[in-house]
Amino acid sequence: MPHIDRREFLKLVGAGSVGAGAGFVLRESIKHPTEYLIPHVVAPEDYSTGVATWYNSVCSMCAAGCGISVRIREGRAKKIEGNPSHPVNQGRLCALGQSGLHALYNPDRLTGPMQQTAVRGSGAFEQITWEEGLSKVAGRLDLLTAAGRGNRVCLLSQGVRGHLAQLFEQFMGQMGSERLLYYDFDHPHTLYAANQRFFGEQYLPYYDLKNSRFLLSFGADFLGGWISPVHHSLGYGDSRQGRPYVRGRFIQIEPRMSLSGAAADEWIAARPGTEGFLALGLAHHIVSGGLYRGTDRDSWEAVLADYTVDETAARTGVAAETITSLAESFFNTSHSLAIGAGNHTNGTDTLVAVNALNYLAGNLGRVGGVIFNPAPAAGTVSHRHQASYRTMLDLAEDARQGNIEVLIINGTNPVFNLPLAAAFREALEKIPLIVSLSSFMDETTALADVVLPSHTYLESWGDDFPEPGVGFTTGAVSQPVVTPLYNTRATGDIILGLAQQSGLGDAIPWASMEERLKEGWRRIYERSDPDTGMDGFEEFWMSVVRAGVWGETTRRALGFTLDPAVIDSIGMQPPEFSGSGDDYPFILHPYLSTTLHDGRAANLPWMQELPDPLTSVVYGSWVEINPATARQMNLTEGDLVDIESPHGQIRAPVFVFPAIMPDVVAMPIGQGHSEYGRYAKDRGANPIQILGPQLEPYTGGLATSATRVKIVATGRRVELVKTGGNTRELGRNIVPTAAATTSGGYNAQLNSIPIKVIST
């Protein structure tokens, strides 16, 4: 036994005690934290804890109108999938649709009505009650209506369809205002105009990609953001792989390779804005080359006389032999189909030329081509009220003149989605009362005096009649799948509330949007086939709500007869650009981001985090520059450059992108918000801002690809955040490849860059 003196003993006891304390604390600290089992006070009848329920509804993240099934557990939305019964998306859903949850649960949502307490844009808001908010607005509306100045009220909404659109029309009609406007940056004005002119149709037709065997796309990024991406992706998939022994051929013509271009068999870069000339060049070869033998051949020959193959080759930069072979295979393939997006100052003419190509190849009104849609069962098509750029300029001018006294904004964000040249923000200053019904504090809502926030679509009643339709009559009811999270109201209910409080209650008597909806659907029920086996309206209504979709199989007769007068209206004007080629050597090609769309999805973290499919960049903006151009300008990836147009300048890092023409630079739309919540704010740049005010003459729509810019290096660099290390395969033989076919002209310049085309 070693000798331990008193001091030693005390030391040991001390050490032991400290150790015991430490041991005690150690175990205490690694214990599970206390968890609670909180029961319901009264058990809900419509769910069991831990058991998922799926509710069908309609997606509102873009204008396509896909059907969704939402997985609900314990009353909370957990997952959004496509509704398999819905003919538009057939069970599929894009990333934007799936991220609807991030709109619902977004931490930056507006949680209740507010009013601006200081100067506009200061961000100083105070919470008010719904009664205060509604009476404040309704009082003003009441005064204006009573004085017969209802036309000084403008309702500026995102595009809506169905019975909400009817309610808007009734509300504005009762007030005596014609200023019911929808503004969507991505609304295809030229497509409607061209179809109206060529087909005499006021609705978009159904493009039957699924049954086509040769798809020729003039810049329509139908796999990315063009009108109905999920449906067209499905059709594309079926065209390529859905039929035994047939693989549809697909050629994409555009100055910058889009997601669709990357999926094409052949990607052809025609000079920006000359796509219509190319279409007419093809038409010329089809007619003059003796392929087309219709009775109106002579009229066609006359109108196409100037668009010879050589002339077209010189104008578009596409080699003559490519034009002739394209024309021949387009004409000779049964079930060919041409589609297009007209983003230049000659957009309508371009799409009319595309329609002409379809006509000559016999694709109109037939399976595998263009099929005409029946009129929607109820409501209106949003196009009737869609405001073109010209209309928005008129609205801004009216506001400056003091002719607009109340502006009600619903879900659209014109301050972000209009070029600075429109001076829309300044015009808003002149409007005495701005009311926003947005769910988020976006750039336009920040300027509002009163904010009456709407539910998200997952919390409200609504319905939709998809546009473009699917060839037969279809509609869908959108039901609330969760109890509203905050003190918000459905857009329809806000309008009904305003109507009641401003003395329009007699003409607009419904107590709620749900009631309005049921009345509308009762009419559809009464009109519809009596042999549906439904026992009364209630059963019909429940079955529609439960299925999430309703349809009638009646189609319009196939076939198409052309009004001969249309032929004479065919012709192309060269595209016009904002800015001279000497000062501004590049054409800016802004495109709808596959993830952020027109900027509406920038506040959704999943969408910010989802890599762009072609560049793999996340969380930011970039400007795509051809490698040869970049080399010439001594730029590499990550170099910050100023992109200057005659109308403004923005800053973004360079992304060297091999599949873009050397004199074109491209930027995704969607970033560059100065408001719109923590995920969107102060991130990247907004190319819409610097667009020149170039109008498409027939529609008054903004020609979005008609601005010239210059690129000025700033000497600063940033690291681009992206998931892909390299755009090249680097000889790893990951995919079996074939060399890209090139077509001379601009494409010849690309020839030096070894682009590889995946061929499966």
């Binding site: 030391k11 032991g16 909180i38």
Partner: protein, 189 residues
């Protein structure tokens, strides 16, 4: 020259002793915490007795835990369910008064969770109940407990000082030859 480390060790001896005492202390402290404060039978907001309900009055488990056969969770009865009986039964007892207080205030009872699995384990009551696994297999002899406590038959019915371990699941899955019962993603998905 002889070199010895003994002098150096002699200097270190007091320090070594102190370290040893510290270590023994840690073990004792840890053990004492585990033995006297196991946390496996916490005091609940209402002293609900499973013995009185399940044994003395022979109420079947699923009368209250209604979802055990159709959901991943067995379900805690709503306050309304308790009050359904206790509006009439034993209304004057102090614990029942506490229950009625919650009901009158329309507040849920904050029961403390005893049986807990980590979030990375996907366990579903439905499958186990439908396979005729008795509740007691995992939850122990609940019908004997006045206060619910964490036990395990795998531990001989005694108090188990840690929460459930994976071995418990695997033993049973092996014994019953559960299809895919040993695959990782059966439970970890």
């Amino acid at each position: 020259m002889n070199v010895s480390i003994v002098p150096a060790l002699r200097v270190l001896k007091p320090a070594a002793l102190i370290c040893a005492a510290l270590l023994v202390g840690v073990v004792v402290g840890y053990w004492a915490n585990a033995a006297f404060l196991p946390g496996t039978a916490p005091e609940q907001p209402i002293a609900f007795s499973h013995k009185v309900h399940a044994a003395d009055n022979e109420i079947p488990c699923q009368y209250c835990h209604t979802q055990a056969d159709n959901s991943i969770s067995a379900g805690v009865p709503s306050v309304a369910k308790c009050v359904g009986c206790h509006n009439e039964v034993s209304t004057e007892r102090p614990q029942i008064r506490r229950l009625l207080d919650y009901w009158n205030n329309q507040e849920p009872i904050p029961w403390i969770k005893v049986h807990d699995l980590p979030d990375f384990v996907h366990f579903t009551h439905k499958r186990h109940v439908l396979a005729d696994i008795e509740c007691q297999t995992c939850h122990g002899p609940v019908e004997t407990m006045d206060r619910i406590q964490l036990t395990s038959r795998a531990m001989g019915g005694g108090v188990q000082h840690s929460s459930w371990q994976m071995g418990l699941c695997l033993d049973c899955h092996k014994q019953h030859e559960v299809e895919n019962g040993l695959d990782c993603w059966t439970c970890h998905k």
